[in-house]
Amino acid sequence: MERFADLLIAAVLLAGLYSTMAYGLGLIYGVLRIVNLNHGGMIMAGAYAGWYLHQALGIDPYLSLLPVAAVSFGVGVLVYRLLVRRLPRGAAGGVQSLLLLFGVWLMVRNAAYLLFTGNDQTLRTSYATRALSVGSALISVNRIAVFGVAVAILIALHLLLTRTYVGKAIRAVAQNADSCTLVGIPVERIYALTFGLGTALAAVAGLLGASLFPFNPTFGASELLKSFVVVVLGGLGSVAGTAVAALILALVEVFAILVIPAYLTAAVGFVLLVLVLVVRPGGLFGQRVLASSCDSRPRSGRVRRSGSWSPARSWPSARSSTTTSTSTTFSRSPSSGSPRR
């Protein structure tokens, strides 16, 4: 029973990290319809940035959160302006955006190898080895801090998306980019901003991860895959959805340790994903990551919960679809929109 409580707490704390990671990916996909394969690269970059600042300048990683976030926001905007913007929009851009961002990831990885060598690094602060006892469990201070930061970020994101003009603009663009230009929202700028925000979230997640795990330039690959699992499980709809899905993944992973050897836990996420897809093709929350047979027909607006946004322009909830597994291929012609230029 004590073991159970330990694992439960460990899962909850881990879920914080996973939800931050997943949110960056989900945001970019929701608004730009692009899967940011460079997500892994930025996670790794954030980890190295925090580590380097700690090594060279002695800055505590939690203090360097804001500067790292700001710089990676800038990097994201730059990547968008230079590269992503030139991709054709709509379905044709699908494969190309993947490959393009993957190329960027390769370059980032190479830069890391050149600058920092391929050895494993760890971020050890003076308080890294301390642990607090919460009830019967002994939890390291790092994990609690990471969780705290993750929760703060999620709350901030929620507030940003619901209370500010920028947040509402982002949600609007996610719903229907063409209508936004009619209303006067600078769509291209929102795209750049969202890409920057997603990148910043990835870097912050990497920084947090660096304080928990050792890392090397290949760090970020399995984190990317886990973020993806979280997004498909239910993270596109809202901050709360991401958090719940992250919690589910973390719980499954942590409790799977009881049954299977530790290093197979990364595989657990995928098995979970495929199981969910087979049993409930709509994901856990009926998300719009999935295809349905009706998605070429535009729908009138649905009532949305406040704080959530619909990344689907004209995708009905997959729950209402009675399809078999029809799916899109990469080069589907865009059904309801003109190219976004």
Partner: protein
């Protein structure tokens, strides 16, 4: 699929002692079935998410197979017995295989099945309205590509006489095939072959001359190709042909992106140039 095919073939040769070709064939079939089992549910995901799901399946398979060391030999891998003259005979086998693959894909392109596949590529819903069963055809494609990779895996195992899960299932290897396709031209027939030749030559050169810049140069190449000529070398070739002979209608890949014919509707299939 590569890994599955390779390991199944190697295992069969080691444990059951069957001849090479049969073990390749069995490896191919097993790999195809494996692709079908994993691919079918993930077809429900939209395009880019489908790709990431397949990446995930690859990683999960790698982990599981590394752990399953009675089958794959764990991190130490499997070694096949070396034979003299093997590489020489295998070279010819490989050439034959490549030619067969090219002919098969050309034949597929021309067949009714090929037309249905092209229809699905353009618009799944419209295709299904016309009566093209997208699920069955996608399963067929999964099985075909899986078994081809499995065959290649078996071939690779015989050729190098040593395979191990980290490499066979590794992400870097998987992505190298995508790169070959991209460089040569996705969706064309000659494209991947061309891309493969160039990729291998480039890789040997890079490893020899600039080993520390290898990844970055790949990334840069990928970015450049995507930004400037998404169809790779075949796209360049088609562009040149269109400029030189605008009257010639060229059968090419069905593209949604920037059309090489400068805004003209997708080229009709009146003539197959490639």
């Amino acid at each position: 699929m590569f890994g599955i095919g390779g390991f199944v073939a190697a295992r069969i040769q080691l444990s059951l002692g069957m001849p090479m070709l049969i073990s390749w064939a069995i490896g191919a079939v097993v790999a195809g079935i494996f692709a079908l089992i994993w691919g079918h549910p993930t077809l429900r995901l939209r395009g880019p998410y489908f790709s990431i799901a397949t990446i995930g399946v690859g990683e999960a398979t790698r982990l599981v197979c590394t752990y399953w060391d009675s089958f794959t030999g764990g991190s130490s891998g499997l070694s096949l017995p070396m034979q003299t003259d093997l590489k020489y005979t295998l070279y010819w086998y490989g050439l034959v295989l490549a030619a067969l693959a090219l002919c098969a894909s050309y034949a597929l392109r021309r067949s009714p099945v090929g037309l249905s596949l092209l229809a699905i590529k353009s618009d799944v819903d419209a295709a299904s309205d016309v009566g093209v069963s997208s699920t069955r055809l996608q399963d067929l494609v999964l099985f075909l590509s899986g078994s081809t990779m499995g065959l290649c895996g078996g071939f690779y195992a015989s050729y190098f006489s040593y395979i191990e899960p980290g490499d066979m299932f590794g992400f870097d290897r998987s992505i190298s095939w995508v790169l070959m396709g991209v460089i040569g031209g996705i969706g064309t027939i000659a494209g991947p072959a061309l891309g493969a030749v160039i990729f291998v030559l480039l890789r040997q050169y890079l490893i020899a001359s600039y080993p520390q810049l290898y990844l970055g140069l790949y990334g840069l190449l990928l970015v450049m190709v995507i930004l400037f000529e998404p169809l790779g070398l075949t796209g360049l070739f088609l562009r040149v042909v269109h400029r030189a002979r605008p009257d010639l209608t060229v059968g090419g890949p069905v593209v949604e992106g920037p059309s090489p014919a400068g805004g003209a509707p997708p080229p009709a299939k009146t003539g197959e140039l490639k």
